[in-house]
């Protein structure tokens, strides 16, 4: 009789455990931290920039145009090697409405804030910095080695911010994210499949769990960061670069003048490169996005781009503003690109990025968004 009661209890216990465990898969796939920020939704609350004396000529002209335009409710954390460097930055950017906060870290770094981490919106107003497992060439490039530390530096300096190793190799610029999904460049596939994960499918699952959003792995794209060749615009729209459009706009210029835009190798209007942009457009369409095209001049070196996509989008009071890169000497491209953004309802604020694009990045590459409202 006693053993019967025990057996009945065990059966009931197993049944109850079975019911509970059947519900557990939701727990297994529960996103562990937060949700990757959209590039195009929400008002900017906090930004992060790097500033170093060595790269002052690259970044300061851009910060001097961009920072004074930010509203008073925006805080900009300036990660600098030391307090003197921050003072130098403060002097260069002039009077600001936004709050500029020094984060002295005591080590070298590059000026490119975007690639160091991906911001996730956590519980409440908290932010989680998803950091790559390592920086490419960080072991031998002191500035890049310092880059690998800035996520932790920021978390230590700013309340409500934590940093964690994402367990994968990536640059923040490899992700372009809207409200529903993150588009991820093929570089992340190359850097991780058979290194940190076995298959692209495993990578997608890992990324989805980390980023808290659907992941769209681009299988074909220009070999560059995502924000150089595409940008999300909200309301299911993606803007993708179109070299052919830029070529047509520049057609009255001599070839040498066009090549001089992308030193040292010249502009790349080849069919092969055009097809990579077309592939991106097709993949975005397949993901259900409406694709809009914008002129772009890619360089034959695969890195130097005149791109109007590498901007920062701020959505507030029902209005979307794009801080759009512009470049000296290409007024026809600047105007055409601004028209594209305006036709999609954006207020366009041009930021001259002539000082930086020959180092393979523009505004979006210099500025990372920590929190949005």
């Amino acid at each position: 009789m006693k053993s019967r009661r025990t057996l009945l209890g065990v059966v009931l216990g197993l049944a109850a455990a079975g019911v509970i465990l059947s519900l557990a898969p939701a727990q297994r796939h529960r996103l562990p931290g937060g949700t990757i920020l959209s590039e195009c939704d929400g008002a900017i609350r906090e930004l992060v920039i790097h500033y170093t004396p060595a790269a002052a000529d690259v970044s300061a002209p851009i910060y001097r145009q961009f920072l004074p335009q930010l509203p008073s409710d925006v805080t900009v954390y300036a990660i600098c090697p030391d307090a003197a460097t921050f003072e130098d930055l403060s002097g260069r950017v002039g009077a600001l409405r936004c709050r500029l906060v020094s984060v002295p870290v005591g080590h070298a770094m590059t000026t490119w804030s975007r690639d160091r981490w991906i911001a996730l919106a956590g519980e409440g107003a908290s932010a989680i910095l998803l950091c790559p497992s390592g920086e490419l060439a960080g072991e031998v490039w002191p500035d890049r080695a310092g880059d690998a530390r800035t996520g932790e530096d920021l978390a230590a300096a700013v309340g409500g911010v934590s940093a964690r190793d994402g367990g994968l190799f990536f640059d923040g610029g490899d992700f372009v994210t809207d409200a529903d999904a993150a588009f991820v460049t093929p570089a992340v596939l190359r850097r991780n499949v058979q290194r940190t994960v076995r298959t692209p499918q495993e990578l997608a699952i890992r990324l989805e769990r980390s980023a808290g959003k659907k992941i769209i792995l681009l299988t074909e794209a220009p070999d560059h960061h995502g924000g150089m060749f595409m940008m999300v615009a909200g309301e299911n729209r993606v803007i993708v670069g179109d070299p052919a459009a830029a070529k047509a706009l520049l057609s009255s210029r001599p070839a040498g003048q066009i090549d001089a835009l992308c030193p040292p190798a010249g502009a790349d209007f080849s069919e092969q490169t055009q097809q990579k942009f077309e592939a991106v457009a097709r993949q975005c369409q397949a993901a259900g996005r409406r694709v809009i095209r914008i002129p772009i001049v890619p360089g034959r070196d695969g890195r130097t781009y005149l791109t109007y996509l590498n901007g920062i989008i701020d959505s507030r009071d029902g209005k979307r503003t794009v801080y759009m890169p512009t470049f000296q000497g290409v007024g026809e491209l600047n105007r055409a690109a601004a028209d594209v953004w305006r036709s999609e309802g954006f207020d366009v604020r041009p930021i001259d990025c002539t000082s930086s694009y020959q180092h393979f990045g523009s505004l979006h590459c210099l500025v990372n968004v920590l929190r949005r409202r």
């Binding site: 057996l7 109850a16 060595a54 690639d115 058979q194």
Partner: protein, 203 residues
């Protein structure tokens, strides 16, 4: 009596429930985040047989020539043949100001013809006939390329894996910043550790 029975059954059920959940709770299974896992030997799968690639050393000095070993395993019931291609590429930042390195350039290419009986495992050693150069981040890619059937343009389906070669830098003046110790130590344990050497050129 009935109350005692009910209490006995409840106690047995509760105990069983707790033990079962403790053993099988999925969060426990998932507690170790795969984020920490690193694949030491990149493995290519070709029509059911596999090729695991490894280098003879975890890191090299400038001027050394690496040797790549391909461990080929054929668990299928049929003999297989394949032509594997290897390529070593190098890349480096254009300047200290660069946001990213320039696209990789080809440094060496090689081939390895593989023939395996059913169930056979065999190692092929491929010497890289190229001395490790300075100032480059090195990657070895292993590819199996075969024409894709029924494609209009006879495109080639490429199945590839890659690993980075660690390179030990020659002595150099103290850098202003040392690499973050923890990740470097973790990465050093993996064959695919990306390591290059020497200071980057400044534009």
């Amino acid at each position: 009596m009935k109350l005692i029975d009910a209490l006995h059954v409840t106690a047995a059920a509760a105990g069983t429930l707790l033990i079962t959940l403790a053993l099988l709770w999925p969060a426990t299974v998932d507690a170790v985040d795969p984020a920490g896992a690193k694949i030491v030997e990149p493995t290519l799968t070709v029509d059911g047989w596999t090729v695991a690639m490894r280098s003879d050393k975890p890191s090299y000095a400038v001027g050394e020539k690496p040797t790549i070993t391909l461990k080929c395993s054929n668990p299928t019931a049929n003999a297989v043949e394949g032509d594997l291609q290897l390529a070593m590429t190098g890349e480096s930042p254009a300047s200290r100001m660069s946001r990213m390195s320039l696209p990789p350039t080809s440094l060496w290419q090689g081939n390895c013809a593989v023939s395996l009986k059913a169930g056979e495992t065999r190692e092929y050693v491929v010497p890289v006939d190229k001395a490790i150069p300075a100032n480059l981040l090195l990657t070895v890619r292993l590819l199996h390329a075969k024409p894709q059937a029924a494609t209009v343009n006879a495109r080639v389906a490429v199945n590839a894996v890659a690993m980075s070669l660690g390179v030990i830098a020659p002595p150099k003046p103290a850098a202003p910043v040392a690499a973050r110790p923890t990740p470097s130590a973790q990465q050093a344990a993996a064959v695919q550790t990306p390591l290059a050497q020497a200071a980057m050129p400044r534009r």
